[in-house]
Amino acid sequence: MKNLPVFSTFLFLLIVACLYGVAFQLAPEKTLAALDFGLKILVKLSPVLLLVFLLMFLSTLYVKPRWIQNHLGQKSGFKGMLMAMIGGIISMGPIYVWYSMLSDFKKNGMRPALIAIFLYSRSIKLPLLPLMVFYFGTAYTVLLSFYMLIFSLLSGLFTERLAVGKRIKEEDYGNG
């Protein structure tokens, strides 16, 4: 049982490796192209990965659980939601590189609603807004961005409500 967490860490990767094995039997050329695509993405993502892990290092060094509980915890209120929303909008790279940092923040007392808000508000990509305007027009882009911001808050509140069942008590995070 002690080895289970280590095993579960590699389980997803193992399943994907098996999928590659099956795919290679069916279509070797496509599978090699998929592998090549993955490697290219990995190279492209390396700077973002480095940045995220640098942020993780700095946060473990300077951001103490007490700060997280105060600013991103149950009592963070609207200010916490705003911080999560802005953090989500300005965060870069794909969503999955942020899971580890959010998981760590969660363990240190970050409110689940704020995690969901962070993840949802990543849907607003500031650098891509001009391109959205180009494809769909200004009115559409403004309206869609507005609704996505509103629904990032709703996503946070509903996810927390449904995932936790009730409002989490402060002592659940080890406060006090």
């Binding site: 579960s8 860490t9 389980l11 997803f12 990767l13 399943i15 994907v16 999928l19 590659y20 795919a23 279509a27 496509k30 192209a33 998929a34 592998l35 090549d36 695509f37 993955g38 993405i41 990995l42 993502l45 892990f53 993780m56 290092f57 473990t60 060094l61 794909p94 969503i95 999955y96 590189v97 899971y99 580890s100 959010l102 998981s103 760590d104 689940p112 995690i115 969901a116 993840l119 949802y120 849907s123 990509k125 891509l128 391109l131 959205m132 494809y135 769909f136 009115a139 559409y140 309206l143 869609l144 609704y147 996505m148 629904f151 709703l154 996503s155 509903f158 996810t159 449904l162 995932a163």
Partner: protein, 139 residues
Amino acid sequence: MVASAKKTGWMFARTLPNILAVIFLSGLFIEFVSIERLANLLGGNLLTDGLLGATIGSVSIGNPLISYALGGELLDQGLSLVTVTALLVSWVTVGILQLPAEIQALGPRFALIRNGLSFLFALVIAFLTIITMQYLGVG
């Protein structure tokens, strides 16, 4: 500082397999699943098209720019803005391929509920955006 470096290193070691899994799974998806072919299934009524648009967005992965280009093309083919909006929103809010990694990091209940709600919200946002545009007389 050494303790922080060790902790970060441990977190990195635990996260990296999942990140690699998602990256290489997207490679397989891109090579074996044609989003354009999936999009050809569209063309029914507004609700089923909205649902299908949201489903295609949910299982897709990659830069949102691809979804803009695909959405623009689908609009040119005469599909509704509701369908295209559901696709655009779910593309960036729902992650079926990343779900195992999200489950491992944030817990199954949280990940499933968050993604389920995001799917539902993609449809609601699609209808709300179009209704508001019609109400304001823009677009």
